[in-house]
Amino acid sequence: MGAMLEIKNIETYYDLIYAIRGVSLTVAEGNITAILGNNGAGKTTILRTVMGLIEDQPDKGTIGFMGRRIDGLDTEKIVRLGISLVPEGREVFEELSVRENLMMGAYTRRDKNGVIRDLERVFAYFPILADRVGQWAGTLSGGEQQMLAIGRALMSRPKLLFLDEPSLGLSPILVKEIFEIIKKINQEGVTILLVEQNAKKALEVSDDALILENGRFVMKGKSRDLIEDENVKEFYMGVRSRESAKGYQRWKRKKVWR
C-alpha cells in the first residue's frame, strides 16, 4: 500500500511561537496511524496545518496527498479532495439542528441517495443522535456533541479522516464504542489519522504510531511495538497509576528519550 498522506519536514508558527519544528510523517493507505503526545505538544497544530486552517502555514516543508501537493491550498479544496477533520472541541454548528449539522457534513456531495444512506448509517452508529435530531446542537451534552462531530465528518465520505481526540469527554462505554467504530470505518476503506490522549486504546486500534513532543517526533514505530515500550507504558499509558493514587507516591521521574 502506498502513502496516502506524506508530510515532509513541516514547520509551523503561531505568529512568533514556533509550534511545529520540522515534522515528517507518512500515513499509509488503509492504515490507522496514531499520534500521541502531551498537552501542547503540537498534535492539533499538525492537523490544522495539513487542513490549511492556519494562515500562511506551514512555513517550511511540503504536504502531499495522494501524490498531489496540498500545502497552501484552501481548506475547502483540501476537504473536497477527500480529507475530513473532526476538530478538537467539537465545533458543531450550535444554532443548527442535529440533522442540519449532519447535512452540512455532506455539503460537497451530489448523490442524494448516498447521503440518505449515510445518514442512516450515522444514526445506527449513534442512536442517541436520532433522538435529538431536531434539537439545536449547542444544547447537546458534551458527549452528544462529540458523536455529532464524528458523524458529521463521516457524512462527507472522506478518503482520509483526521480525528482529534475523539474520545474526549465520552463515557467508558462510548469510548470503547468509538474505537470500535473507528476500526469499522477503517475497515470500510477509510484511512485514519488519530490523535489521542488515551494511549492504550489508540495503540491497540492503530497500525502505526508516533509520539510527539515539543513539536518534534521523538518516537515512531509499529503500534504493537510501542505498546511494549517501557517509557511509553509509563508516561502515556499510566501503568503506574493503578498502584499509586492512594499511596501518595509523589516522586517523579524525568523523561529521557534518547
Partner: protein, 291 residues
C-alpha cells in the same frame, strides 16, 4: 376610522422600504454577524449610477434600473472581496468600524461625483398618483414597494429554508472554521450574500429615489431598517419584514395620535420595550450558551 386605516396603510407603506433595508441587513448578519452600516450606501451608489445612466447616456429607465441592480450585485461582492474579507481575525466591533469606514468612503464618493444637489429619479409611473380603497389612499409607488418587499422576503425565506446554500450561510455565520471543514466555500458564500444584500437594498433605493434623491437619502431608512431587523430578531427574514411594519405603523399612529415631535424616536422606544421582553427579538430563538 378612515384616518386610523389611513395611518395603518401609510405605516405599512413606509414600512415596506424599511423592510427591504432590513432584509438586506439580516442577510449580511446571517452570513458574517456584522450589523452592516454600509447597507444604505451599498444601495445609494447604484441608485446614482442608474441616474447617471439615464441622464448621461440617455438610456431608458428600465435599462438603467437593470444596470443598477447588476451593479449593486457587483458592488456588494466587491466590498466583501476587497475589504471585509481582508480583515484578520475580525471581531464584531472591528467589523462595525470597517462598515462605517466603507459607509464614509461610498458616501463621500457619491457626494464627490454627483455633488450635493437635490434631484429626483425619473420613473415609469408617476410617483404621485395613487389608488383609493374605500376612502384610504395608497400611492402606486408604495404599493409597488410593498409587493417588492413581500416577494423578496418570500423568495429569500424559501431559499434559506430549503436550499443547501441557505443552510450553508447559517453554518458559515455560526462557526466559520467548521464550515470550511465541511468544504463550504465560506468566502464565496459571504461574497454572494453581500451581493444579494446590496441588490435588495438597491430595490429599496430605486423605489425611494422617484420622490427624492440626495446623498443622504439612505441613512434614515437604513437606521429604521436596522431597528426593524433587531425587533424581528436579526436573523429572521419574516421577522425583519414584520419588524419593519411594526416600526412603520407605530410611527404613524404615534405621529397621528400622540406627538409628531417624538415620532422620529418612538421606534427606538418600542425596540427597547420589545427587547426587554424578548432579548433576541420577536422571531429569533434566544440562544443561551450552555456550559
Amino acid at each position: 376610522m378612515i384616518d386610523f386605516l389611513q395611518m395603518i396603510i401609510s405605516g405599512i407603506a413606509v414600512g415596506s422600504s424599511y423592510a427591504l433595508m432590513a432584509l438586506g441587513m439580516v442577510l449580511i448578519y446571517k452570513a458574517s454577524e456584522v450589523p452592516n452600516f454600509v447597507q444604505g450606501e451599498m444601495a445609494l451608489l447604484p441608485v446614482f449610477i442608474a441616474y447617471m445612466i439615464i441622464h448621461s447616456y440617455g438610456q431608458s429607465v428600465f435599462a438603467a434600473f437593470f444596470g443598477a441592480l447588476a451593479f449593486a450585485m457587483l458592488l456588494g461582492c466587491l466590498l466583501e472581496f476587497i475589504v471585509v474579507r481582508r480583515a484578520k481575525n475580525p471581531n464584531i466591533l472591528g467589523l462595525i468600524i470597517i462598515t462605517i469606514g466603507l459607509e464614509m468612503v461610498l458616501l463621500g464618493f457619491v457626494s464627490w461625483k454627483f455633488g450635493a444637489d437635490q434631484r429626483v429619479m425619473p420613473f415609469p409611473i408617476s410617483s404621485y398618483s395613487s389608488v383609493m380603497f374605500g376612502g384610504v389612499y395608497i400611492s402606486i409607488l408604495d404599493l409597488l414597494t410593498l409587493v417588492a418587499a413581500l416577494v423578496i422576503m418570500t423568495g429569500l425565506f424559501f431559499f434559506f429554508r430549503f436550499s443547501k446554500l441557505g443552510v450553508a450561510m447559517k453554518a458559515t455565520q455560526q462557526n466559520e472554521t467548521a464550515a470550511r471543514l465541511m468544504g463550504i466555500r465560506t468566502n464565496r458564500v459571504k461574497m454572494i450574500t453581500w451581493g444579494i444584500s446590496a441588490t435588495v437594498g438597491t430595490v429599496a433605493g430605486l423605489l425611494l429615489a422617484p420622490v427624492f434623491m440626495e446623498p443622504y437619502m439612505m441613512w434614515d431608512p437604513m437606521l429604521k431598517g436596522f431597528a426593524a431587523a433587531v425587533i424581528g430578531g436579526m436573523t429572521s427574514l419574516p421577522g425583519a419584514v414584520f419588524g419593519a411594519y411594526i416600526v412603520g405603523i407605530v410611527e404613524h399612529l404615534f405621529g397621528g395620535y400622540v406627538s409628531m415631535e417624538y415620532k422620529a424616536v418612538v421606534a427606538f422606544a418600542v425596540i427597547v420595550l420589545v427587547l426587554c421582553v424578548k432579548p433576541s427579538g420577536l422571531f429569533a430563538r434566544h440562544y443561551v450558551k450552555k456550559v
